[in-house]
Symmetry: C2
Subunit: 254 residues, 2 copies
């Protein structure tokens, strides 16, 4: 099995090293990751400048390609230029920090997995619910189990698994929940400051809110020490509103 491993925290992140460590037990791994931190770039791609590729060797067997672009760029150029044939699996992560609820729309980690799915490749995003993890033991056990179970149970084409892992010890993990994307959101604001040249500037600030109280929601499951597995896709159509919209726009015309 050929596996493309990527992330959005950059090729020197601790998370991608741990993901690579598990992934290589399942097949031939090609690492293609951003040269620098690319959190919150969403599904951006680079069309206004060219990309550079650099070979990286972090030691302990970890070799890879750094790309001067976004996570989605990494998957695109990885498939087209860096793997000898189309990969069988795209893995993205381990992201340092969860990707839950509304906030997945900003995530480079999730976007990379979506990009794999756009090319018809089974793709999984892994995120750990901590900004300062002191152990990847739980994450590695979870990734091993998810990959083992999915070898014989491929998701339908175009469906990505968004896996979020609680920041707890392996013995405190309560189990796995298949969830829906919940309503977690980032309640942002802007902190106003003055630069040395007297100009106002603004830092985005804010905090994560999650009012969900159901283990079928991604955020609540993780908060309760369950691994959350959300099947997502990139067809954004709101089917349930189509007929009503037709009465507004089509009746008048046809």
């Amino acid at each position: 099995m050929k596996i493309l491993v990527t992330n959005d925290d950059g090729i020197y992140s601790s998370g991608i090293y741990e993901l690579w460590n598990v992934a290589k037990e399942f097949g031939d791994v090609t690492v293609v990751a951003p040269s620098t931190q690319k959190s919150a770039v969403g599904h951006g791609i680079t069309i206004d400048k060219p990309l550079y590729i650099k070979q990286i060797d972090r030691g302990n067997g970890f070799k890879g390609n750094s790309i001067s672009g976004t996570p989605a760029d990494c998957v695109k150029i990885g498939i087209k230029k860096l793997t000898k044939s189309i990969p069988n699996l795209v893995l993205s992560g381990i992201n340092i920090g969860s990707n839950l609820g509304n906030n997945i729309i900003y995530s480079g980690t999730v976007a990379a997995a979506v990009e794999g799915a756009v090319s018809g490749i089974p793709s999984i995003a892994f995120s750990l619910d901590s900004f300062s993890p002191n152990s990847f033991a739980t994450s590695k056990a979870v990734i091993y189990k998810v990959l083992s179970l999915l070898l014989d149970n491929k998701p339908p084409t175009g469906t990505i698994l968004n896996v979020n892992i609680p920041n707890c010890k392996p013995e405190d993990l309560k189990g796995y929940r298949v969830t829906s994307q919940g309503k977690q959101y980032f309640d942002d604001n802007f902190d106003e400051r003055i630069d040395p040249r007297g100009r106002k500037y603004y830092w985005m600030t804010g905090k994560i809110n999650d009012d969900d109280e159901d283990l079928d929601c991604d955020g609540f499951a993780v908060k309760n020490n369950y691994v959350s597995i959300t099947p997502i896709n990139f067809d954004m159509t709101n089917i349930s509103y189509i007929n009503e919209l037709k009465t507004i726009f089509e009746n008048e015309e046809n």
Copy 2:
């Protein structure tokens, strides 16, 4: 009515000027748009550097705020810092080039409208199916009509309208179709070159493919001179796969 107008082509784009021109007939418009071209940035937001705001006056009454960030940043800072109260409507566009099928995941135009919807504001993205339009006559008539019809028919909270306008004369417009997100995709590749310092670099290239042949698909509708209106949302859950995934992950555990 308070209307926030934004785009991804930047505040000096011809498209945002035309959108402003129609929008101001419906309410008080605040323009908040990127200072430069931000196509294909997807739903990126700026968290690793601060944002600057600059007041812009393009003449003919068009005044606005340029932001040193992404389209999603513009909507966030617009709502929090530049409108006196939460806007009643977010309009994004007119994008120079369509946003159809799979390709909407890369679109800054669509992301800006999604960002409005995340805040519970009715939001519409307008895109014109041409990279070199010589007239906005059709677009302006379409925007006028869409806004008029929607004044009394607000989409459900969280649903964005993705409106794509064919590049034809007003008299050649066949009508309006409420569509689903189709399968149009960008068949990308990478053009390899050598820079003056002898290093390889890669330009993303490729072409748009659209095999849909149904007027209920966004791309085919536009190709046939219909305005395509797709209701989209940002809940990416693939509900249809949840039960099967539960048999894989939950039965083993519970």
